[in-house]
Symmetry: C2
Subunit: 281 residues, 2 copies
């Protein structure tokens, strides 16, 4: 059992310091900490697949009974404060009454989460994704389709930014990720990790649907406007997601979802349990 919850009534209580001025701190950073919001995400933070530890948990008192089981094994302190107190602390209205502070710890090396040959491998590479919603959504899709790792270049934003975690539905807390090492590019990294680089681009010729799925794949996606840089496109295998004529436009995270689904299916890594009904079409 973790410690008994402590009730806090003063928004100025120093124990709640990491929860203060939440939006300002989103911009300036949290010195190795991040914020988790909501029950689903908190359960992932505290669960067996979490890559991070909780530093503290802040709940509205009415949320405590429903979460006591999830929190039981966690050694972090649990603070109970009315939603009005939580809102005064954070600086905006708290509706769900579930917050936590997590600790980042050290960053992973890019090679660490990628299984070595001859195991199959599925890695998502995000290039220049400066939108937190897109990064969060891409992580959600990576986790849903069982990617081994998400790699991000220096321009892509932080998966542990508050909004990224929320949009990822907590996937950012369980999905291994790493930064592209300084001085590395996607092609050299793919060579180092023994992955075939697939560069997704609307301008590519080869359609995803005709691809012989590689057993070890690095799926590289860039931003919707500029797309991937010419060197990456030239050195990788450019792949196009076939679309209808006249509206050749997919959100980058959705494109990642479709690409991950196709490659994961081809690699046989998706859940195939269940009886296939063979009724009339």
């Amino acid at each position: 059992m973790g410690p008994a919850p402590e009730t806090v009534t003063d928004p100025g209580d120093p124990r709640l310091d990491p929860y203060t001025r939440m939006r300002e701190r989103d911009l300036v950073g949290r010195a190795g900490r991040f914020v988790v919001e909501g029950e689903v995400t908190l359960r992932l933070l505290l669960g067996p697949r979490s890559r991070f530890r909780a530093e503290s948990i802040l709940l509205a008192p009415e949320r405590w009974p429903g979460l006591a089981d999830a929190v039981a094994a966690c050694p972090a302190p649990v603070y109970l404060a009315a939603k009005a107190v939580m809102s005064a602390v954070t600086g905006f209205p708290i509706h769900r009454g579930v917050l936590a502070i997590g600790v980042r710890g050290g960053e992973l090396d890019a090679a660490a989460p990628v299984p070595p040959r001859p195991a199959p491998a599925l890695v998502l590479g995000l290039a220049g994704l400066t939108n937190h919603d897109n990064v969060g959504a891409a992580f959600r899709n990576a986790a849903a389709f069982g990617a081994d790792a998400v790699l991000l270049d220096a321009e892509s934003c932080d998966p542990l930014y508050r909004k990224s975690i929320r949009v990822s539905a907590g996937a950012a807390l369980i999905q291994p990720f790493a930064r592209l090492p300084a001085g590395q590019d996607w092609l050299r990294l793919a060579q180092t990790l023994d992955l075939q680089p697939l560069a997704f681009s609307p301008g590519a010729v080869e359609p995803l649907d005709a691809l012989a799925v590689p057993a070890r794949a690095l799926l590289i996606l860039g931003t919707e406007g500029p797309g991937l840089d010419p060197a990456t496109l030239a050195g990788a295998r450019p792949i196009r997601i076939p679309m209808a004529a006249g509206f050749d436009s997919l959100n980058v995270a959705t494109a990642a979802g479709i690409a991950l689904h196709a490659i994961a299916r081809g690699q046989g890594r998706l859940d195939r349990a269940g009886t296939v009904r063979t009724g009339p079409a």
Copy 2:
């Protein structure tokens, strides 16, 4: 050629009335009008595939030269106003300097955009989608994969809401859509339109990847929490998108994108132009 642009300097100018108090009007509605933001979306509104007509266009003067070609054939008045005036009119900062008011016109009948048998048909049904981002993103995917129509139940929000249009990348302006008629349910509608109803649900047994693609399909998706109602699931063919074990969670618009891609591919309606490179995997 349309009329010459008229310069407006007074935020109180009555010609700009439809652009005032934009966020408040998002909530109360616009009496048969909608707002279009940004160049890509304006070009779709004015283009050959648009389902709607523009009532007026409001541009920052520096945007006029780049858009004069797109606006040339449009009979609606074009107003030029500095971004500071545009911001004063709308009530929030206007960065891109491109706005327009569109006219909804009459709503389509649900049957109108669905080609009759024996033509193949691909229709997306959205059930209870109360989030404007999800509706917009689903429209973007429907247009990208060439769906004939998007049908929405009474609970789903308006595809012509300002944010829905923006998130759809303008797809809401070209993608035919209609409301589920009052007193109809998805199953009766599918029967009327001679479509096979496929109900997407994480709890379904039959995986999407093993499905013999029906030539005429209605893909029904519900919200992430409650999902589809039991009657729809019981009467339709429930389909599951296979995922990795342990994180069985996709955003509803992403799930729609993956489902649309698979069915559109199976129906042979996607662009297959281009030479397939057959190099080593």
